[in-house]
């Protein structure tokens, strides 16, 4: 899955996802990616978040929506993402997933659980190229 967030110079925020889902799924199964608040959520007055991982679990907790709500309360993106995964791991300690959050000013952060490692990619004003961020899970 790719989950992507874009914010322009005027503060317009959008988010999106595209995926072919989980391998060997039961035909008809849909994961979190096309579900608002699960795979992605955007609010130009706050920021946006995107999720990736075990979609059957992610979609039960709406972590992207939760991360954006956390940022609305003034929580920094990394902590907002971390908190959004906490509720999931209470119920599914062996779940694998990650959330990336960006606030409306362009501050960004991520949290992950269960993967060996997680990376996300950033291209912002002043950058010469995309930069990879490594997140320990």
């Amino acid at each position: 899955t790719i989950g992507m967030i874009a914010i322009d110079g005027e503060g317009n925020v959008a988010a999106g996802t595209s995926t072919n889902g989980a391998t060997h799924k039961i035909p008809g199964r849909v994961g979190d990616s096309p579900i608002t608040g699960a795979g992605a959520y955007a609010d130009s007055s706050i920021g946006a978040a995107v999720g990736t991982g075990d979609g059957d679990v992610l979609m039960r907790f709406l972590p992207s929506f939760r991360a954006v709500l956390n940022m609305a309360q003034g929580i920094e993106p990394e902590a907002a993402a971390e908190e959004s995964l906490k509720k999931i791991t209470q119920f599914y300690p062996d779940f694998s997933g990650a959330v990336v959050a960006v606030d409306r000013r362009g501050n960004h952060g991520a949290a992950c659980h269960g993967f060996e490692s997680f990376q996300y990619s950033v291209f912002a004003a002043g950058f010469k190229d995309a930069v990879l961020k490594n997140i320990p899970c």
Binding site: M4, N12, G21, T36, S121, V122
Partner: protein
């Protein structure tokens, strides 16, 4: 911390990031344009086998696609789920956003919508996805997502059905996910 504009995406799919950024940098381009263009890169490059055609075959060996675009200024959303035989899932999601008052279209009828919007219908299977599926079949269909069915899904392929007797468990233990092999190369 960064300054605006900014593009961020999950996983090390830097070509998608670059294209989204370049799109955003164009005169008149919107954040929706950037999201569509960036995700399209992964759909074409089949990023890690987790995006686009030819990846993550289902139990029948078919690949299907899910995608969504959300506009954080209007709170409008366009999405498709279990899209079959159409490669450009993110662009179809954009058409749902722009050409309908709905949020999410799914399955065969999402395909019909895509075709009516001019998207070509073609197989999403590749030699690689067929090999992945065959290997899984040859491994007694392990792992899979079934439970409480017969024959035992932990050792056998389907077709599965409901057992004649089934005792509802009152156990409070948490459901296992580890055995589903979700990883960098197998995820939503």
């Amino acid at each position: 911390s960064s300054t605006l504009p900014i593009v961020v995406n999950t996983w090390p799919f830097v070509n998608a990031t670059r294209v989204a950024w370049r799109t955003l940098d164009k005169d008149g381009a919107t954040v929706i344009d950037a999201i569509e263009a960036g995700c399209m890169v992964c759909e074409k490059e089949q990023c890690d086998g987790t995006v686009g055609y030819g990846g993550s075959p289902d139990e029948n060996g078919e690949s299907s696609l899910d995608a969504m675009i959300m506009d954080g200024t209007t709170m409008n959303v366009g999405a498709v789920g279990y899209l079959r035989r159409v490669k450009s899932a993110i662009s179809v999601a954009r058409q749902v956003l722009e050409k309908t008052k709905h949020t999410l279209l799914v399955g065969e009828l999402a395909t019909q919508f895509a075709v009516s919007m001019g998207f070509p219908e073609e197989s999403l299977s590749t030699k690689k996805s067929k090999e992945i599926w065959k290997k899984w079949r040859d491994s007694n269909c392990q792992p899979n997502f079934w439970q409480n069915v017969v024959p035992d899904p932990k050792t056998s392929c389907g077709p599965y059905s409901r057992p004649k007797t089934f005792e509802h468990s009152d156990k409070t233990s948490l459901p296992e996910r580890r055995d589903l092999e979700i990883s960098r190369y197998n995820h939503d």
